[in-house]
């Protein structure tokens, strides 16, 4: 099939360990989502439920960004240059949720 003769393509055999890890991460993501689904119906609305959801979302984000996007295995300086700017999001979140409460109070 390889029509280009300058490049001889050598296919390497799959690394079982690597593929198993991919499926393990997939299983974790699926299990956390199923658990979220369960919590949505079993636990009554409140601070506990909200914080449980947020923690589970961060766990899922950790696996997607760390393993699937491979960020966990990159150079430290690259990891930090992606993660540190996200602090701005935390600031915006706190500021605007607080602001929302104030708007509600004067509405």
């Amino acid at each position: 099939m390889n029509t280009d003769e300058r490049n001889e393509v050598v296919v390497q055999p799959p690394d079982k360990e690597k593929i198993n890890r991919i499926w393990r991460v997939a299983l974790i993501l699926g299990a956390v989502t199923a658990l979220e689904f369960l919590v949505a119906f079993v636990v009554g609305a409140g601070v506990f439920k909200t914080s449980t959801f947020i923690i589970m979302t961060i766990v899922k984000a950790f696996y997607i960004v760390g393993e699937f996007m491979h960020l966990k295995h990159e150079v430290k300086s690259l990891i930090w240059s992606i993660l540190i700017p996200m602090l701005f999001v935390v600031w915006l979140l706190v500021a605007l949720i607080y602001e929302g409460g104030s708007i509600f109070a004067v509405r």
Binding site: M1, N2, T3, D4, N7, V9, V10, V11, Q12, P13, P14, K18, I19, I22, W23, V25, A26, L29, G30, T33, E36, F37, A40, F41, A45, K49, T50, F53, I54, M56, T57, K60, A61, I64, V65, E67, F68, M69, E74, V75, S77, L78, S81, I82, P85, M86, F88, V89, L92, L93, L96, I97, E99, G100, G101, I103, F104, R107
Partner: protein, 258 residues
Amino acid sequence: MSTTATAVNNPGKSIWDGGQSPFKASYGKLMMWFFLLSDAFTFSGLLITYGLIRYSHPGYEGSPDAFTFSTEYWPIPEKVFEAVPFLHGVPLPLVFVGIMTFILILSSVTMVLAVEAGHRMDRKNVEKWMLWTIVGGLTFLGCQAWEWTHFINGSGGETLMKVFNGEKGVWETVSVMGAGLTANEYGPPDFAALFFFITGFHGTHVFSGVLLNFLIFYNTVTGVYDRRGHYEMVEKVGLYWHFVDLVWVFVFTFFYLI
């Protein structure tokens, strides 16, 4: 480790003095990362706006069983999103979005498998896994199209809603079916506007992701990457595709669960 190597080659120079890549990532991958960072800010802005507007409205205080739609308070999301295709009239809260989440996660998994096959120059497997990723993306888009249609057409019932009449400048009580940009049967007008904006912006990302995935698939089939000698494009587009999945994880939590 890299610093020791540099010190041996160029005494007195750090890895930041040029001639090598300190991040140990190619230009394209690095720029994809920074683009995704900026895109993450955009989505954060949208989701935080949802939080702001939601907390500026009163929440529903009564028991969940007695819940009715009203413009007076923010709706409980699981009372809004409880329809599943082919099961008309059966209340199955969050089941359909749950399925959509699983579809997107699975297509993310097939994408990693494609990237892994690319590392091994295994064209046949890249083709196979890219095709599954595209199928997953298209299925998700189809689900979203159904969900939007259902949301816009409504559950079949009419709700009396207080709607602001801009021409007369007064609030009127009118019967509303489904959802539009000015009024909806589920809650305050902002609820539907945010639904359209946030899931719409995410859906646009999925759509462009499917187009990019198709491009990668096409290039793989025609042997472009074999000739190039590496499958890095699969990796770069993979980063984008995982990001789309990541955003959905957040939309799922903050729009549908909380």
